[in-house]
Symmetry: C2
Subunit: 115 residues, 2 copies
Amino acid sequence: MKIRKELAKGSTPLLVLGVLARGEMYGYQIIKTVELESRQVFQMNEGTLYPILHALEMEGLLTSRWVQVEGSARKRKYYQITEKGRKELADERAAWDTYQTAVNRVLGGVQNAAT
Amino acid sequence: MKIRKELAKGSTPLLVLGVLARGEMYGYQIIKTVELESRQVFQMNEGTLYPILHALEMEGLLTSRWVQVEGSARKRKYYQITEKGRKELADERAAWDTYQTAVNRVLGGVQNAAT
DNA sequence: AAATATACCTTGACAATCTATGTATTTCGT
DNA sequence: ACGAAATACATAGATTGTCAAGGTATATTT
């Protein structure tokens, strides 16, 4: 299915861009945030997230910076969404709405919407 | 992501089971029906559909029968949903609702819900 | 007569995700 | 004080769903 492809490709990136649109965040934090906000529905894998973050950065949709945690040896890599990223997010949001609506139409409306 | 997998795996089968829940249909008709009802959003591939139909039949979610088209050499393979198929459909529908809700929550509500 | 639509099917390639693995630091419980 | 679990980054190989392409055949439209 045509749109399925775009959607499948964009499903996780959509969520990533979605949370980053509110402000910079580091990888582990993204996982926890998505987990929390989806009420445990999404348990994003590290092996899924990190390659996506790198890919989005390569595409210029995100930028990143290393931040040293105060009084600690630990470093975190914070990601910020770019203007291009915001445009992509808008596009993917629209695609998601289209997809969502289409599935619900085929299934006979949302749950039991009016006939 | 955990549920993503179920969904990805179940996305097209969900639509197939969804349309077959209304009555028996043959492959080509399923493609056209989904295309029409999704308003051209889904253009299901034959290479995607037929293997799925066969798999669903193997799992006992569908049954099929060949029907000779009246006054023609053409045969069509009609598929019917089974009781087991209806249960599966109910499960997948529920999973879809959960998924949909979770994405919308992470994205901050549907489209531009109240901040 | 040729092109398009209908109708079934399979195979090989590709792309997205997962599991597993690796390294290192920090915190919590006992 | 020690071990387990959580935090935090990353990559590689296997799995899986979908697609493009190819194949066969009939029916309809131009």
